[in-house]
């Protein structure tokens, strides 16, 4: 299948319109890389279940539009409501533009935030979508946590977009580095508004120094007509710890890539996720853990609930490279399908080239337990209530794994709201 492609001329024109700053050279290199390799199609193994045609359409419409410079549009209400609901030090990017005030307002010691354009402008790009991100990036954030620092409040990263009138596309990029023995927690929040088509493409890189510890929660609550691709790449230092939890509630076509690289011994990574999808939503989670040395631990559990015509995709890959003895890799994926038209495509992969390892995966697809339903019915609950309770419990298992305690309550409420919306269409 030949995909629709992004127009190179339009991309080039757009890149040339971006400021002549520290990122200019990298933008061109990324564009060339993208031009050479192109965007993936469903014939590409990693994109078998997710078709980017829709996103490419939006991109082309956006590039054809009168795009001189990206502007941060009216996202004020959305930003304020999120800031008010979660206690954190917020860094805000609206439509791909950094809110300078939010950087200036950071009150904690041990953390410094700069713009990518201020530095040498080096950006990693290796995949087609990170190429696209680097090529069209207006500016990104570099967050540095000093050695031995222990941040007391979570750092919130708010990525909001508004597409009120015309099709929009935005690129955001966050580079985070934790120096040795530091501790920090992050909340990456994606939200959007507006009735026009929108596509957001975010890229984050997280580097953990030796013995450092990062907690990372990603919450995605985009408008259900908007699209998103998101990539988080994590490099773990010696004896470092990374706890990650992702919640996908919104979005029409959503693709999340999480790559964890264990190249130093003693590192531990736990990454979990929950996706709740209904209507025409398509939520795709791809994870990859590379164990290059041992000992190292990577554990993941993703859970999904699908109703309506929704489609969930989960692909977990653990690669134990030659010599990574002492690796412990676990993958789990559990799914509930609640309607006739919903679909899940799950693929847990293990590639193992070392022998002293403990690796396992388990995947299930099914419905609510009949016995449990019956039990609740005998206690006087009607079927709808009983189903609500059981689906919530199914989802709650991921909340309890979420590493930032202060947002558990907020997450629980959000899940309850989303589930009650999803289950309205499900027969009682």
């Amino acid at each position: 299948m030949k995909p629709a492609t992004l127009s190179y001329d339009a991309l080039l024109a757009s890149v040339e319109k971006l400021p002549d700053d520290g990122l200019a050279v990298t933008r061109r290199a990324a564009l060339d890389h993208l031009h050479k390799h192109g965007l993936p199609t469903t014939r590409h193994e990693d994109w078998k279940y997710t078709d980017l045609t829709k996103i490419v359409d939006i991109g082309n419409q956006f590039l054809d539009g009168q795009w001189d410079q990206p502007t941060s549009q009216a996202t004020g209400d959305l930003v304020n409501s999120i800031r008010d609901s979660i206690e954190a030090d917020w860094l805000v990017m609206s439509n791909g533009i950094i809110d300078q005030e939010s950087i200036a307002g950071l009150g904690q010691t041990g953390i410094s935030v700069t713009r990518l354009s201020e530095a040498d402008g080096e950006m990693e790009f290796s995949t087609p979508l990170s190429d696209l991100n680097a090529a069209l990036l207006y500016d990104g954030l570099r967050i540095h946590v000093a050695a031995d620092a222990a941040l007391t409040r979570p750092i919130g990263i708010l990525l909001v977009d508004d597409a009120t009138t015309s099709p929009g596309m935005s690129q955001t990029r966050i580079e985070i580095e934790l120096a040795a023995s530091s501790t920090a927690s992050f909340i990456e929040y994606h939200a959007s508004s507006g009735s026009a088509d929108h596509y957001a493409n975010s890229v984050s890189n997280l580097k953990l120094g030796d013995n450092s510890h990062a907690d990372y929660v990603r919450i995605q609550e985009r408008d259900r007509s908007h699209n998103q691709t998101n990539r988080l790449t994590v490099g773990l230092g010696r004896d470092s710890r990374f706890n990650h939890c992702a919640f996908d509630f919104g979005g029409r076509l959503v693709r999340n890539d999480l790559t964890v690289d264990i190249a130093h011994p003693g590192a531990t990574a736990a990454f979990d996720g929950l996706y709740l999808a209904g209507g025409q939503q398509h939520i795709d989670n791809h994870t990859r853990a590379d164990h290059r040395v041992g000992p190292g631990i990577s554990h993941q559990e993703y859970r999904g609930i699908m109703t309506g015509h929704a489609r969930g995709v989960w692909n977990g890959k653990a690669i134990v490279h030659d010599g990574a003895d002492g690796t412990d890799a676990e993958q789990a994926n559990h799914n509930l399908l609640l309607s006739d038209k919903a679909e899940i495509d799950a693929k847990p992969e293990l590639e193992i080239y070392a022998d002293d390892v403990k690796c396992s995966h388990g995947t299930t697809v099914g419905q609510l337990d009949e016995t449990a339903l019956f039990y609740l019915r005998t206690r006087g609950l009607n079927e709808h209530e009983a189903k609500q309770i059981l689906t919530r419990a199914f989802a709650q298992a991921i909340v309890s794994k979420s590493p930032i305690d202060s947002i558990h309550e907020m997450l629980t409420t959000k899940i309850a709201e989303r589930l009650s919306g999803l289950m309205q269409g499900v027969e009682a």
């Binding site: 293990l350 590639e351 193992i352 690796c359 396992s360 995966h361 697809v365 419905q367």
Partner: protein
């Protein structure tokens, strides 16, 4: 022909513990493939017009197809023009009609392999349709089978005697353009087995075929078609060995199973082709398409395989669960040692209501081998009440080998229950220590642990195969420990 014989001569003299190439004049076509070769193959087999047309259609489609590269295996490119597409031990006219007519040298070959054909067949009560290279040379127990109404014959004979059955079912499970190797097979298949079990008949004995690859440089393209009519039952055994040679040999077989209402087919394989030497030189390329179609309600197809041979295995025996309440099973042990590469698994396609499937896959990697499980469980929207359980375990012996799993689950029905579990581990020092402490040598201990690991699959094999399979496993893993 002289060069071929010379090659055979030189191969006979080559060093190989169990090695031999039977020195009989092979009637071999020159290497290369075009429409004329396809016509020639068809002509030699006196095939009716419809078969030639069918082959030519497949050939034209194959020409437009690309060789697949997605499997987790690596090998030098295959030159399809360097392969000879037909080789018969004797010309068709004086093909042996019974065991007595069989070239004694051929029988000697079976002896060397430990398969005393007539004895084994008589003692075990198994009918053996031995395929020596491409033309079936001996079929026994025909009478007993024909009394039951069972047709068990070489494929070419079925084309002659039962064209209506061949026409109806050939390619109905694995279409000509299914994949690159199935297309190639459809164009040039030489021979194979044909089985038809009539309505309500329980096949009086286990049917068995021994495959052998013999003439140098000859790809072997088997075609097997088994049809179990309503309410019938058949158990089919397939096993194979091959002599040593330096060039890699391509083997692209197609097996099609059709189970109509209430019918059951059990298909067991022990595959022990030449895997290449300890440095990975030589060995068979085994690119096989095996698929069963549970076409009728309450039908059942069960695949059991023990894969220890071949340099490269690329094989996914699958079940299409079309009939309501149909059942698919896949039990597999795949052993890869030295530089062997295996990419094997199954596909279970749930279409009918209340269909169920079970997958048990045990992969053992040793030496420098790479062993991958690749499976698909697809539940179609109309497949209410579908059930699947997959268990997929890997055992690693040694630091240089690899074990991989690529299971795909595509579920489009909310009533489906699908479970997949996989584990990877090595033989623990504790287990070994315990056995050693009890006076069991390290090699015996490993064999014991490996056999225990595979027990779930072995118990699905017919008795005699199960014994053979255990012995085979021990031989395959020789030298893996230490």
């Amino acid at each position: 022909m002289t060069t071929e014989s010379d090659k055979l001569e030189s191969l006979v003299n080559r060093r190989y513990e169990h090695g031999f190439v039977t020195d009989i004049a092979a009637d071999t076509m020159p290497p290369g493939l075009d429409e004329d070769v396809v016509r020639a193959i068809s002509a030699r087999k006196n095939e009716p017009e419809f078969m030639l047309e069918w082959r030519l259609r497949a050939y034209r489609q194959w020409r437009q197809m690309q060789e697949p590269t997605w499997a987790h295996v690596h090998y030098p490119p295959i030159d399809f023009e360097a392969i000879s597409y037909f080789s018969a031990p004797m010309s068709d006219d004086d093909r042996p009609k019974s065991l007595d007519d069989v070239d004694p040298k051929l029988l000697e070959t079976y002896d060397k392999l430990g398969i005393p054909l007539h004895e084994r067949a008589r003692l075990a009560g198994v009918a053996v349709d031995a395929v020596f290279d491409s033309v079936s040379v001996a079929t026994t127990f025909k009478k007993k089978l024909s009394e039951a109404g069972v047709i068990f014959c070489p494929f070419s004979e079925a084309v002659e005697n039962h064209p209506e059955l061949v026409r109806k079912y050939l390619g109905s499970v694995v279409p000509q353009r299914d994949n690159f190797y199935a297309s190639l097979n459809s164009a040039v298949f030489s021979d194979g087995s044909f089985v038809y079990i009539p309505k309500g008949v329980r096949c009086p004995m286990e049917l068995s075929t021994y495959f052998r690859i013999n003439a140098a440089n000859t790809g072997q393209f088997e075609r097997t078609l088994i049809i179990a009519d309503e309410g019938s039952h058949v158990s089919y055994l397939e096993g194979c060995t091959a002599p040593m040679r330096d060039e890699n040999q391509l083997h692209a077989a197609v097996v099609e199973l059709v189970a109509l209402g209430d019918a059951e087919i059990k298909y067991s394989t022990v595959q022990n082709w030449y895997p290449g030497d300890e440095n990975g030189k030589g060995g068979i390329y085994n690119f096989v398409t095996k698929r069963g179609d549970c076409r009728g309600a309450n039908s059942k197809i069960s695949w059991t395989q023990v894969e220890t041979g071949s340099a490269i295995t690329w094989k996914y025996p699958s079940c299409i669960l079309r009939g309501d309440n149909s059942v698919g099973e896949f039990y597999s042990v795949a052993v890869a040692n030295n530089y062997q590469q295996a990419d094997t698994g199954t596909k279970m396609i749930h279409i009918g209501r209340n269909t169920s499937s079970t997958i048990v896959s045990k992969g053992i990697s040793a030496g420098h081998a790479q062993n991958a499980y690749r499976g698909l469980v697809r539940v179609m929207p109309q497949a209410d009440g579908a059930r699947n359980h997959t268990q997929c375990d890997s055992l690693l012996i040694g630091k240089e080998c690899g074990a991989h799993t690529f299971p795909y689950m595509e579920i489009k029905n909310p009533g489906a229950k699908v479970e997949h579990e996989a584990t990877t581990s090595k033989i623990s020092a504790n287990q070994l220590f315990y056995c050693r402490q009890r006076g069991i040598s390290e090699e015996d201990a490993v064999n014991m642990i490996v056999n225990g690991f595979c027990k779930e699959v072995f118990k699905e094999l017919p008795m005699e195969f199960a014994v053979e399979a255990q012995a085979l496993l021990n031989v395959s893993l020789e030298g893996a420990v230490g």
